[in-house]
């Protein structure tokens, strides 16, 4: 296998080098995974459930740390990152969860404003940004509703609004179309594409064949915690070119 030199070029926003992750119960979720993602790429991460997709996303967001190898996100090495620096790394990331992780004790609006409160935004600016994010996902009219009254697709879009309100450079989505029918799934996919067009880097984990058929860019396929040979070949060589191609199409 070929490995990238440990020098990180500025355009590489995510860089995995020989990363392994073993959980305390002995389960080996990732084995020797290496790849790079350049700024502005939109990449799908595929594989069956249990293949290690979620673990890979968790490593990027520093929710888990690798046992060996290095994960570098925006120039910061996750393996050696101090606990106090983790919040500031996460502020560069928009996280979209399969289970949405919404708060049902507050309105749609208050769910979306949370990341801005965390970052200490001024209230008037926050309000403006929250409305813009809700507008983008088509939930502006529901801002006063409780998220529990929203449909599955609407909850997923709410989760997306919360992830983008902070205008992060990188969006990580874990099964964003997981339980949705294909109409909703396409809607969400087109939202993602529009973000990518304005320069956001996206990494989307999915096992949804419909979604993958519509997408022609670079994919990373995981099987039992390792990248497939085809993915591994794509992972390093000319990765950013392929990403650009994906964007052009």
């Amino acid at each position: 296998m070929i490995h990238a030199a440990p020098i990180i070029q500025p355009t590489k926003v995510i860089h995995f080098s020989q990363v392994s992750k073993r959980y305390p119960n002995g389960y080996e979720a990732l084995k020797n995974v290496s790849f790079e993602i350049a700024e502005g790429e939109m990449i799908f991460l595929t594989g069956h459930s249990g293949a290690g997709k979620s673990t890979l996303l968790k490593l990027i967001a520093a929710i888990e740390r690798p046992n060996s190898g290095s994960v570098v996100v925006k120039g910061q090495n996750i393996a050696t990152l101090k606990a106090g620096a983790i919040p500031f790394l996460r502020r560069n990331l928009g996280l979209i969860f399969q289970d949405h992780k919404l708060l049902f004790d507050r309105s749609v609006f208050d769910n979306v404003i949370l990341p801005l409160q965390i970052c200490g935004f001024e209230h008037r600016e926050s309000t403006k940004r929250v409305r813009a994010a809700l507008d983008k996902v088509g939930l502006l009219k529901r801002e006063k509703s409780n998220p529990i009254t929203l449909s599955g697709g609407e909850q997923q879009r709410l989760c997306i609004a919360r992830a983008i309100v902070n205008r992060p450079a990188i969006l990580l989505a874990d099964e964003p179309t997981g339980n949705l029918d294909s109409d909703y799934a396409n809607e969400i996919l087109s939202i993602f594409k529009s973000f990518n067009q304005v320069g956001v880097t996206l990494l989307i984990a999915t096992h949804d064949e419909n979604v993958l058929q519509q997408f022609s860019g670079r994919t990373l396929a995981l099987v039992h915690g390792s990248l497939t040979p085809e993915s591994a070949a794509q992972a390093i060589t000319g990765a950013s070119n392929l990403g650009n191609l994906g964007k052009l199409r």
Binding site: P24, P87, K101, L114, I118, C119, G120, E122, N166
Partner: protein, 302 residues
């Protein structure tokens, strides 16, 4: 900077709303803290008043010098001259035996008994106001005066105040013990309240962490809550003490009227109140901090 202050103000406002969101359970917590704090504070107030009484008595120590019955007038005059020249003595009062006898007859209500006495049993005496107040030096002075000729007995009158002082010192130690124990109780109450809050807000904490919240951001509302609960508990203790003192004073007014004195309990000073409120607020904060540290951050290390 201004947004930072606004953040704090917003969190504080939310904390206050939170307190009023569950008025009964929070009010009960505050009451428990208030009662716990009012115990040592109450003992402190009583001791402070006792100290004041003891202080008034012992601030002017006296020595009583009794001459022997056989002492001649010349001997007494000599002693008086000697006492007046003594450097450690401020003032000397001579109490002739017949005067003392007459006074005793008047004040003790034992006129009949006294009248039946064939002769005056009281000796001539001096009341001595020394310059010094230190108890060891006073004792030395007493011992020195005892050796003078025709002196039968010398008594240090502040001895009882001295004993009371020792008793107050002991009671102060009791206050400390009670305060430490009840402070621990206060910390424990806040600790537990915050633990329950952390449990009910587990989702919010978890999600906030994922969205990039710092440790300070997450623990701030809990610390404010602990601080506020402690402060309200301190205010409750202050109210309890003030009301109790008012009740006691109205009763004392009747009581002291009978004894023709106007003794009233002295209330907490502004300094005492500040100390009480700061201390209770700090303890509330401490309990919250311990709880958050244990339940939010320790829980993180798997």
């Amino acid at each position: 900077m201004i947004t930072g202050i606004m953040d704090h103000a917003r969190v504080l406002a939310r904390t206050i709303r939170h307190v009023f969101h569950m008025p009964v359970s929070n009010a009960l917590n505050v009451l428990v803290i208030g009662i716990a704090l009012s115990l040592p504070t109450g003992i402190y107030v009583i001791l402070k008043n006792l100290e004041r009484v003891a202080g008034q008595a012992s601030s002017a120590p006296q020595l009583s010098l009794f001459m022997s019955m056989s002492a001649s007038k010349e001997a007494i005059a000599r002693i008086e001259k000697q006492l007046k020249q003594h450097t450690a003595i401020e003032m000397v009062e001579f109490v002739p035996r017949h005067e003392a006898f007459a006074q005793l007859k008047l004040t003790s209500g034992l006129a009949d008994v006294m009248g039946s006495l064939k002769e005056n049993p009281l000796p001539d005496a001096f009341i001595i106001h020394p310059k010094l107040t230190h108890s060891e030096r006073l004792e030395a002075l007493r011992d020195e005066l005892r050796t003078l000729p025709h002196v039968d007995h010398v008594q240090l009158d502040s001895a009882w105040a001295h004993k009371l002082g020792a008793l107050i010192k002991f009671a102060n130690l009791v206050i400390w013990l009670v305060s430490v124990l009840l402070s621990l109780a206060l910390v424990a109450i806040t600790f537990n309240t915050i633990r329950l809050q952390v449990l009910t807000q587990r989702d919010e904490i978890e999600i906030s962490k994922l969205l990039g919240a710092t440790r300070a951001f997450i623990q701030r509302p809990f610390l404010y809550f602990g601080l506020l609960q402690g402060l309200l508990g301190g205010i409750t203790a202050w109210l309890i003490i003030t009301v109790s003192m008012a009740l006691l004073n109205s009763y004392l007014a009747n009581l002291t009227h009978l004894f023709a004195s106007n003794f009233t309990l002295q209330a907490l000073s502004a300094n005492d109140i500040m100390t009480l409120l700061l201390f209770s607020a700090y303890l509330g904060w401490l309990g919250a901090w311990l709880s958050v540290t244990l339940h939010v951050w320790r829980a993180e290390i798997k």
